[in-house]
Symmetry: C2
């Protein structure tokens, strides 16, 4: 029999907390937190994505928002049991606000709140039609001139963007745009997704042929339709492409393929965007109220400018344009870069019989895939987690409940464990001349991803090829120039080359805003991504949440959406609810709109 | 706390049963059954689909099969609790045979077995790769010349049917062929599905435009990928078409579109079929070991031959060719027939503004959709069932556990309840002249479906139009002849017509065998479908299972697969396991191969 005592403790605390909030007694509410405390809110209280750190920030938020939010009905979530161990009590909670139902996670230390996560689950009166409320499909009864599902769908396709304007336009139809589009469809927010490629999924299909997801399947589910049990752990790129295409169709998204967004401008008075797109060569003007840039973390190739590049007589391209190794058997290949793409491409070139050199210009964080899965992800995202009853929704919320301010403290011991476990592997890499790092504070891969979105390789085999010299390595020296037939390094090394691949990463999402809208607006909203951790490529000051992602920006009606499949799934829920509330005219006063510390 | 006593009772019985079987003591095993008893086996004991009715049949089966099967490890299924009420104890069980793992359902009365269902879940050593054993996807490690997922898939597509022969060919790519194809793919049985239409799902898309599934979503899931929570209760035809198309793609089925199976013959000596198909106008010869006809219950239009049809100057077509009502606004339409298609088509024609007459030649069984869902299906297939923890797999097994011999006894009270509930509705229909029936023994729709596959309409609104005269009804008289511009009935009525729709149903699946293979083989395997219930259109003698469906036939290597989505899902598991065992050379001695009482 499960110990129900933690439930009673938690219920007792929630009763006090709820009563204090109901009576407007902010001091009493704040007194239930311990001094070292965090309240992360996803939209429910702040109409923002925001972590309040410490009692003063919590007090300030409540002063500003409590009366308007009107929270009530705090309770231990139905069907869930709180658990207590080593003085830490954890539990799932539910609550309501005036306009929404919420769900959350809480951790108590010594009976006081250490961390609190509050999330908006659904807007009252605008719940998604699912389960008991799913549509009937067939039209029962009878009526003259009724249309079939197909006719209605064809009508929508013919009208939307022409005789009828969508409320929202999403630029970019990768997993981010697709997941958000699906949520908006379910919420009844008319949306067009604009994608430059010919088919949904092409943003994966068009990359180098050996590419597979580096994140495992349990981490990658889209909303509404899970991958089946027979789906591979690491999806090959064309297979994930097919899945995205299928998903787009069966979720009935209005997805405009072969369409380029050319220009967007905002009419502040009308509260409306003018978005000029070119679809199959024809210009169309869209007039949405909301514009979401979901062009991706990896959408804008960062092509370096080395002297002499124009003279090179072989093939040269950014990694995103790399066709795969087939044409390069017996050829000399130089790959500039040492992160995920560089390793994948080097390995594939070697497998195809090319002579490959990797140029490592700065240190790289390496984790073996197996180790990362077992040590880093298995508690939340693994087959064992599924068997233990962990659901994707819960895993996402647990992940979201760890405040960014202290997330690295949870991560550092995990990466120490990985380093120990794979000691020999790392020693061998260093012996081969590879420059390793573990992030500025040893917090490893996930923090690097959140802070800068780069700087690592999840090893699926290429490291062994570096270790045994199959992939030649030149590390610690930059590129001086490119000649007709070689790469010259700063240390004087000359690397003859038939093909050069620039695996040099991607530019900021903000660049898209500059290109599509204007430099002025791009600078006004400032840099995207990163936490302000004051580590390499993530300058301070501390911001507490990822800059500009999934939340209001300094530009009315402009939003950024993106990230890996996990983030696309999880944060699309909160972005969709923010857009739905605006469409319905529900007041959405934003608490703590981010300041801009770095231009785009 | 749940009462665990029933578990102990069940475990006790299983221990005795298992011990008796293990020691070969058939009398002791049979003595554990009550006199009135049924053992339904899906492949696990009989390599057949077979119900043993009464102790003598059970004894006979065990005498023939026990030594070979070698059952063991009988237990209450893990994680399941038996339940007891009103002297009836029900529970889930697991067991093993020498070659397989099995799962089943059992009902005890007074401590003895009343019904036993044994099913084969998986073949040992040939388990599906799923969950913990799902494929890795990415190729970790390294190796010269490795192929990508896409290259391997393209290679398979290029080779299969040309340089490499499939083990199995499925003729017909509707839900039946697709569900079976998916199971075979997971089991590693190389298969080509041959479909005459241009795209998977076209067999639905090409039907009349108002068509929606008459079965609800919970009953319709395909294997491996469930419909999402937002999926409509009754799928519109084009939407289910899209789902089937996408399913076919993401499950990586080898699905040959625009391909017609023209001729098939079996070489008994080689144990191999020669199947001539025409694909995009080109003839290809396939040489599979197994041939599955999945051409569907509703694949062979039954076009009546009325005198004068050739003289009719308007449009006339079978319901399967009916394009929808759009061209017939203001026109006179006569629909011959009074089952599902006839009602749907009449209603759509009326809605589009046609003048519609339905010709009812014999009585029809009518149930209101809502009533059928609530009274007939809700315990197993409904949102409430899902909330109560019912899974599709369990619902299918519970359904399968009710022996056909007594199934009508379970059904009769349900249909009495429906009749009571909708008393006024039925009275109104009769007042309008509609001829009603409830099946020969009052057992209603599902028994009609199993016995003859026809004779009913699930009302979604057309009946109101019949009742209020919007759809004109002529009942009780056959068609005498067709003239240039009218339908003449036997009672002398003349129905002027611009369009005649023959909603006259479909021929036996057996007809496909005659057409594709030979009349001789079709007669050898005999009639498909029906139970031998000696009711209208299902002549005796009693057969105990549906004739020729999903199980060995009198023709080596020839199989029939089909039925609604539920049956396609459920029985594809057992047909796939039978085919897999044969591919692997596991001996599959068939117990009780059906005798043929009716030619095709």
């Amino acid at each position: 029999m499960l110990d129900k005592a933690p439930n009673q403790k938690l219920a007792g605390l929630l009763e006090k907390f709820g009563a204090a909030l109901a009576s407007g007694d902010i001091d009493a509410a704040v007194s239930l937190f311990q001094d070292d405390c965090y309240w992360r809110d996803l939209v429910a209280f702040t109409w923002n994505i925001r972590t309040m750190e410490g009692k003063e920030q919590i007090r300030d938020m409540l002063k500003s928002r409590l009366a308007d939010v009107g929270p009530s009905n705090w309770a231990v979530a139905e069907g869930e049991d709180a658990a207590e161990a080593d003085g830490l009590l954890e539990g799932w909670i539910s609550f309501e606000t005036k306009v929404a139902r919420g769900y959350g996670q809480i951790r108590l230390k010594d009976g006081k709140i250490w961390t609190l996560l509050t999330t908006m689950a659904e807007l009252k009166g605008h719940e998604e039609k699912a389960g008991f409320t799913r549509p009937l499909g067939a039209k029962h009864g009878h009526g003259k001139g009724r249309k079939s599902w197909k006719e209605e769908r064809e009508e929508e396709i013919a009208e939307l963007g022409f005789s009828r304007q969508p409320y929202c336009v999403i630029v970019g139809g990768g997993q981010g745009g697709i997941a958000l589009g699906a949520r908006l469809k379910q919420l009844g927010v008319s949306t067009i997704i604009v994608e430059k490629n010919e088919r949904p999924g092409d943003s994966w299909r068009k990359r180098y042929k050996s590419l597979c997801l580096h994140d495992p399947v349990w981490y990658d589910h889209l909303p509404y339709i899970d991958f089946p049990k027979n789906w591979p752990v690491f999806s090959p790129k064309d297979k994930i492409g097919d899945w995205l295409e299928m998903y787009t169709r069966v979720m009935e998204l209005n997805y405009w393929t072969s369409t380029t967004a050319k220009k967007a401008s905002y009419d502040e008075a009308a509260g409306e965007w003018t978005v000029v797109v070119e679809r199959d060569g024809k210009e169309i003007v869209l007039k949405p109220k909301q514009l979401v840039l979901a062009t991706g973390m990896s959408g804008r190739p960062n092509l370096p400018k080395f002297p002499g590049m124009e003279k090179f007589r072989g093939d040269q391209h950014h990694s995103s344009r790399h066709p795969g190794p087939d044409a390069y058997a017996g050829k000399k290949a130089v790959v500039i870069g040492s992160n995920n793409s560089a390793h994948d491409i080097c390995a594939a070139l070697w497998e195809a019989g090319a002579d490959v050199t990797m140029v490592q210009r700065s240190s790289t964080h390496i984790v073996r895939s197996e180790t990362l899965m077992e040590v880093g992800l298995s508690a939340l995202y693994s087959e064992q987690a599924v068997r233990n009853g962990m659901t994707t929704a819960k895993a996402d919320l647990i992940f979201a409940s760890l405040p960014y301010k202290i997330l690295h403290e949870f991560q550092i011991p995990l990466y120490r464990q990985m380093k120990d476990r794979d000691q020999k592997f790392y020693a061998d890499l260093e012996k081969a001349g590879f420059l390793l790092d573990w992030g500025d504070d040893g917090s490893g891969l996930f923090m690097k991803y959140l802070r800068r979105g780069s700087g690592y390789y999840i090893d699926v085999g290429a490291c062994d090829l570096v270790i045994d010299g199959s992939i030649k390595l030149k590390s610690g020296s930059g590129v001086k120039e490119i000649t007709e037939d070689a790469v010259l390094l700063e240390d004087g090394t000359r690397l003859p080359a038939d093909v050069i691949v620039y695996a040099t990463g991607y530019g900021s999402m903000n660049g898209w805003a500059a290109e599509l809208i204007s430099r002025e607006v791009a600078d006004k909203v400032g840099k995207c991504w990163g936490l302000g951790s004051n580590t390499t490529k993530d300058p301070g000051p501390w911001e507490g949440e990822q800059r500009n992602m999934w939340k209001p920006t300094q530009q009315e009606g402009l939003w950024f959406h993106g990230g890996n499949l996990h983030q696309s799934r999880h944060y699309s829920q909160f972005l969709a609810l923010q857009l739905k509330a605006r469409q319905e005219g529900i007041p959405t006063p934003v608490y703590g709109l981010q300041e801009v510390h770095h231009k785009g």
